[in-house]
């Protein structure tokens, strides 16, 4: 489950309206969400997300329960989101849609190399090592199945 990529550094309290705006929600075409992800925060961000690791400030994903926020990040190619804290619905949605999330305060510089392992909780940012709050065994199982749909099907 280890992931690597350049850091995209964001601020605190980024709400899910900013991740994907309400005006783009009503579609089944997931590429729409990937195209418009973070548009109201910074329209230049979306193309830089492919293969990236997002390192954000506290309370990432607050606000609306829209699962499209987690899906948009994953579809845009984000490999992991790291933040000191997450809003709980976004946190669950990310796990359920197979987007790794890790709770950890990691100072970062834009573009720095990040290596993260959700299973062990270790995060390396530009050579500095941090330890994230561990995910529960069930969350790890869901994540390693690729999301709740696949996890549920395997259990049947």
């Amino acid at each position: 489950m280890k992931v690597e990529g350049p850091a995209v550094c964001l601020g605190a309290d980024i709400d899910t309206d900013l991740v994907i705006a309400g005006r783009y929600l009503r579609t089944k075409d997931r590429s729409v969400w990937a195209t418009h992800v973070f548009e109201d925060l910074d329209p230049a961000l979306a193309p830089r997300l492919s293969g990236a690791i997002v390192i954000a400030g506290k309370n990432f994903g607050c606000g609306s329960s829209r699962e499209q926020a987690a899906i948009a990040l994953r579809e845009a190619g984000v490999r992991c989101v790291i933040a000191p804290s997450f809003a709980r619905i976004f946190f669950r949605n990310a796990i359920n849609t197979g987007l790794p999330v890790m709770e950890c305060a990691c100072p970062c510089t834009e573009g720095e190399r990040v290596a993260a392992d959700p299973a062990s909780g270790t995060i390396e940012v530009g050579g500095r090592v941090y330890l994230a709050r561990p995910l529960s065994p069930r969350m790890l199982e869901i994540l390693s199945a690729g999301g709740l749909v696949e996890y549920w099907r395997r259990k049947q």
Binding site: D13, D15, D17, L18, A21, G22, R23, L25, R26, T27, K28, D40, K58, N59, C62, G63, S64, S65, R66, E67, Q68, A70, S85, F86, A87, R88, I89, R92, N93, N96, T97, S136, R138, G147, L148, V149, W152, R153
Partner: protein, 404 residues
């Protein structure tokens, strides 16, 4: 003794539990994604189809053919599976669930962040995403981490033009936007008994704006009397000594009319500090403040006068609308120049029925003022219905109660 969350979830804080869900609901927004996840799961039957509600409220009636197509699919699913269903015009999901469906002691899960509204009834009510909901449809239950609780001790009673919304914004500003992340709020203290169920729903509704998982009141005489009108005889939930991770004391007599200034719900100022800011739109409604008492308070202020800014009113449910029609409140609003929208979420989420243009300013009774939420480049001030009414008459943000 235990907190109400521990009592309902049946385990001590910090532990993980699997539990049955007593009521589960989606709306036309999240239901579409839940249905996609359900189809991908290839599940055949809902575990408890009589307990899984589909309640249309977000973009009703549909704003374009794509939305209409998605809604038709969800409507068909609800019919085929025999799910309790409310269509266009019946109201906001949380309000519909609060009209005699959600009951004290129940575990209520909605695919919407403001599901915490139903904590007003002494239910453990919390929001989840769409895929979680699909799994709940299939399994009839889900897992939770039992939250730590923050005790919000309310004393005294609201005075003057201050309302439950002012109290709600006050506690949000004191806790901040992430002050209760992963926790439950419990509203307790001598002051609670003075709060109507409508007021309690407003207070529980804003719990998620502090990051909280739930915002609970213990069912008391008021709760039981309210539910009796819907034919339920609910038992009392008596608070006992319990350990709160943190407490917050608010003397309600100290609460003054406030607004949350854009773009944060926790940046709260007395209305008088921002009075005079010109408005392009006033919006009365939503799961926060679209109930009958809200419409009535607003209508009493604007009755016999004319609003000076476009003013949109979305009753929270058909029941609210119908009562307002019966008592004359609706005709006062219409005569004052307000535009009545169908029961539902209205423009709160920026999808239709009052989207803001670049540079426009709206004073809204809703719960979120995030950047661009109601339209790109638009700004949102959050306030009570009384402040909204005074402001609608003035055309600019105005202090309630002093409007001529």
């Amino acid at each position: 003794m235990t907190t109400l969350s521990e009592r309902i979830l049946g385990a001590p804080e910090g532990s993980y539990v699997d539990c049955q869900v007593d009521r589960a609901y989606v709306h036309d927004g999240t239901g579409v994604l839940a249905l996609e996840a359900w189809n991908a799961m290839q599940a055949r039957m809902l575990a408890r189809n009589d307990r899984c509600y589909v309640l249309f409220d977000h973009i009703v009636p549909a704003n374009n053919s794509v939305t209409a197509g998605l809604q038709a699919e969800l409507r068909r699913f609800a019919r085929e599976q025999g799910l309790p269903f409310t269509d266009v015009g019946e109201g906001v999901c949380h309000q519909v669930m609060g009209e005699g469906i959600a009951l004290p002691g129940e575990v209520v899960v909605g695919a919407d962040s403001h599901t915490c509204t139903l904590g007003a009834f002494g239910a453990f009510a919390t929001g989840v995403g769409a895929t979680d909901m699909a799994a709940i449809w299939a399994d009839g239950g889900t897992w939770f981490r039992v939250p730590e609780s923050i005790g919000v001790f309310l004393s005294g009673s609201l005075a003057g033009p201050a309302e439950a919304k002012d109290l709600a914004l006050t506690y949000v500003s004191r806790l901040s936007m992430d002050g209760a992340t992963y926790k439950a709020l419990e509203f307790v203290g001598d002051g609670v008994s003075s709060l109507s169920m409508d007021s309690r729903m407003t207070l529980s509704n804003l719990a998620v704006e502090t990051g909280a998982k739930a915002g609970l009141f213990y069912a008391d005489k008021e709760t039981c009397a309210y539910l009796r009108e819907f034919g339920h005889s609910a038992g009392l939930q008596v608070p006992g000594e319990c350990r709160y991770e943190r407490t917050l004391d608010i003397d309600m007599a100290d609460v003054v009319p406030v607004v949350a200034v854009p773009p944060r719900v926790d940046t709260v100022r007395p209305v008088e500090d921002v009075a005079g800011i010109p408005l392009d739109q006033v919006f009365l409604g939503t799961c926060t403040n679209g109930r009958y008492a809200d419409l009535e308070r607003f209508a009493r202020v604007v009755r016999g006068k004319k609003v000076r800014v476009r003013t949109l009113v979305a009753p929270a449910s058909r029941r609210v609308l119908s009562r307002a029609a019966g008592t004359g409140v609706l005709s006062w609003l219409v005569a004052a120049g307000c535009t009545i929208l169908p029961p539902g979420c209205g423009p709160c989420l920026g999808a239709h029925q009052g989207v803001l243009g670049e540079g426009e300013v709206c004073l809204s009774t809703a719960n979120r003022n995030f950047r661009n939420r109601m339209g790109v480049g638009g700004e949102i001030y959050l306030a009570s219905p009384a402040t909204a009414a005074a402001s609608a008459l003035s055309g600019a943000i105005a202090v309630p109660g002093v409007q001529g």
